[in-house]
Structure formats: C-alpha cells, structure tokens
Amino acid sequence: MTYTFGLDTFGDRNSDTDGKPLSHAQTIRNVVEEGVFAEQAGVDFFGIGEHHTEYFPMPAGDVVLAAIAARTERIHLGSAVTVLSSDDPVRVFQRYSTLNAISGGRAEVILGRGSSIESFPLFGYDLADYEELFEEKATLFAELLKGGPVTWEGKTRAPLLNQDVVPHTESGPFPAWIGVGGNPQSVIRAARLGFSLALAIIGGPPARFAAHSQLFQRALEKFGRPPLPVLVHSPGHVAATDEQAKAEFWPRWRDIITLIAPERGFAIPTEESFDRETGPHGALYVGSPETIAQKIASTLRALGATRFDLKYGMPGLTHEQLMTNIELYGDQVIPRVRELLS
C-alpha cells in the first residue's frame, strides 16, 4: 500500500513573537516559504483552502500555489478546498490545469464547501441554493476533467456547446477529490461522479468515519467504477513535546473557534473538550511527532485511507512555529507513520 502525506493551510494569519498580527501580504509570502519548505522536509502534498476572512486571508490559493510550483520540483499542489458552489467550474478547471502545466503535472483539486460560507454573499450566491449549485457544478467539473469538448446545460451557469476548454492537460485528468464532512449522501455523490473522497474530520472520533469509507468503495462498485483513494483531512500542530504543542495551539484554537462558533455551529472549546479532541479518540492532531504518528497511523488503518493531510497552523501562531511544525511532520512524523503501517 502506498501512503501519501500532505499539509494544508487556510492562510491562517501569522503573528510575530510578541503576538502582533502580521499583514495579510506577509502571511501570504510566508505561506509560499512554508510550501517550498514542505517539499524540502519530505511532504508529498501542499494544499491551500479557500477562505475570505480577516484571519484566513486566502481567497486566491491557486496564485500562491503557482508561486510554490515555480520553486519546487516534486511536491503535489492543490486546493483544500475550492468552494466550487460559488465559483465557476470552467474557471476552476482552467486555473488548476494552468497550475498543472506550470508544475509539470503536480496539480490536484479538492472540491467542497468546507465550513466556509463567506464566499456566498461575496459572489452573490444564496446559501439556500448550496445543494443545487454543488451538484450541478461538480457534474460539470467531472466533464471538464475528461478533456475534450464539453456539452453541458444547467441552471447555474451558461450552457456549453461542444466547447473546447483550455489549457489541455498533458497526461489526462489531474487528481480531483470531493471534500465531505460526514453526509453519507455526499459520499455517494463523489462515487457517482468518479471523484476520490476527502473526509474532513474536525471533531469527534475519527473511527466513526470507517462506515463512510466502506460506503464510498461499495458505491464505486455499484456505479461500475474502479476503487479510488480516500484521504483524511484534520487539524493539528506538531512541536517537540506534547506539552509544547498543546501550549502553543490551545489559546489560538480556543480564540478562533470561539470567534467562528456562532455561525459555523461549533461548540465553544473548553479545556475538557480540547483534551478529548487531542486524546487518542479525538480529531485534533496536537502533540509530539510520536503522538501524532501513532494517531495518524491508527486513523488511516481504521478508515482504510491512504492519504492524510494535516491542516497545520492557526491564526496567531508564528511563522517560525509553523516551520518547526513542517520540519517535524516531514522529518519525523511521516517516516514513523510509514513504519507503523508497513
């Protein structure tokens, strides 16, 4: 079994060592450095999640990925996620097939919503139309990925008649995933349209998603498709010791989740809930390299998943803390997980 390991960021706004927030521009330049460093540290994938907020100033991740592509040779680069419902599938395809060209075939895309909702009012979409928008646009994106002229008609964008969409990819479709937060009907949709499955597990015991992973493979069979990989995306922070990782991460996690809880429906974090989530049966990967490696290995095993993407960083952490996280993840966590799973 081949396992791959990624790092994802939402462009979490950095602070300096005195706790003063850095500018959006400096945070974005730091993300470029982090992506380049991720390759040097031995990470397989670097993903950027679309967000439109003061604390996640990252609406155009593909531009940042292009900058990383120009300075790297091996690491795969993709969205995590692209909010497809409020974007145009043709433009998303064009941006990521351009990234694929620049990087020599290293582009990927994860389509979804995340728990991000800011893009809907920003681009004039109604959240109540979310389902219809996603269904139609994901269907069109699957057509675009095949290459060749596309004929498509729907309610959410202008029709396409035998339309050649450029740039063409050099060697077939690039990897494309649908991000799912636990809705089994979304799992079925990913299988029906032939996307790989990205499970975003941000709370509760990861093992409860084993049924979703089985559901995905069974649904692929039902739709007459070959098996496709499952990836797990979860937040966390790696430092030299468990104590240090928790001490760095906890106040940042508490502050940001408290801020966004009312609109995203998250519970306000308490020290008790943080302990539960960072424990062996929780969804936060916060700790020393050994703690994190054990936890990742057990999640991948339980879910039959072959890729793990750690969403590193949190608004208010420093660039230096993130670089240490990346170094430990690449140098220690990834080889140790491979060893545990071999």
């Binding site: 909702i117 809907f120 109604d126 959240l127 109540a128 139309d129 979310y130 389902e131 937060g181 636990g182 809705n183 089994p184 009907q185 799992v187 079925i188 941000i202 709370g203 509760g204 015991p205 409860r208 049924a211 979703h212 089985q214 559901l215 069974r218 649904a219 039902k222 809880a261 009312p262 609109e263 995203r264 429906g265 998250f266 519970a267 306000i268």
Partner: protein, 215 residues
Amino acid sequence: MQEPNRLAVLGAGHVGPVIARLAIKAGYPVAIATSGDPEDIALITELVIPGAQPRWAADAVADADIVVLAIPLHRFGGIDPALLNGKLVVDAMNYWPASDGVLKTFEDGGSSEIVARRLAGSTVVKALNHIGYHELEDRARPAAAPDRRAAGVAGDAPAAASTIAGLIDRIGYDPVRLESLRAGRVLQPGGPVFGVVLTLPEFERAVRKDARSLA
C-alpha cells in the same frame, strides 16, 4: 412496558443517520426515508445505519408513531403537511441564517412554532436540534452514568412531550422539559444551550438564566 414506538426518520444527511442509529441502539424499530426512492439510500442504510429500514416517506410515516424531521429547514416547504396528519412529529431542524441562508418564512419567531403552524394536524415537539451531529452519538450515556448530559424537549402538548422525553432518556440523555414550543426557543441557534453539551444542572442553570434575561 408497551411495544417500543416505531420511528420514521425523514432525512439521510448529517443528522438523520445519527438519530436513527441512536434510536436503533435504544431498541426502537426505525424506518428512514428521503424525498426520493428508498433504493437510493439502500447502501447508506446498510453501511451507515445498519438495522434501519429504507422506505418511501409516505410508507415510513404511515407506520410510525413518531416522525423525526431531520431535513434542512429550507426543504421543509416541500413536505406535504397532510402526510404528517395525526402524527407526533419531532422537529430536529434549525433556522440558522448565518450557516444556511435567510428564509423569509422563518425570520419572525421560533422556528418550531412556525413548523407547528404549518403542520396543524400534527403534534410537534422540538428536540434533538441543539447538540451537534458530531457529538450527539459520542456523548450519549446510559441512565445514571456520572458524565451523562442533558437534552431539551419542548412542546405544547404534555403527553407528546412526555413520549419524546422518554425517547431522549432511552437514547442517552437526561431530558429537560420546557413547557411550550415558545419556551423551546432557548434551544435554537444563538440560545444558551445550542452547540454546547451540558450536564443536567448546567443545562437548567443556562436555561433559567436565559429565561430571566428575557423577562
């Protein structure tokens, strides 16, 4: 004890399967339905809700004593109220504009009161809406467990609310009765117990404090 009440869970998204699994574990016969063909959710039922029966909504409701509405609120308008006539209906839905968009029908008043007005032939109880689907299963505990948490039950009809309080108890939470659907507004998004999982004393304190601040 009587034969356990038969449940029909409407909705196979985030919330429906979680409620269905908890009810099956507590010994209730459970049917699950969406707006479409049960064949479409056969695989989901087999793997994610083992023990439940996928059915057409009309059939599931006809045979049920309790119907749980676990669909997105903006789809509620698509349900024919006649389908639910004479039924005890648990409203597990939420009106949550920041997350799901603005719905004009629900802008004014408690969402379950508006649901109840539309389902005039049914008895509506508000429950199972305020603990996140990520947590609902994980935090359930048997009666008298020291770390058992509380869940609210609000209804205008005492007998119906009692039945649902029994359901809440059997699936793993201490039921807290609120005397009316209106009083159940404390369970809504933005209220003192929404999205937090509290023990019985914590829950009662939070609700009381909120009632006082409204008075």
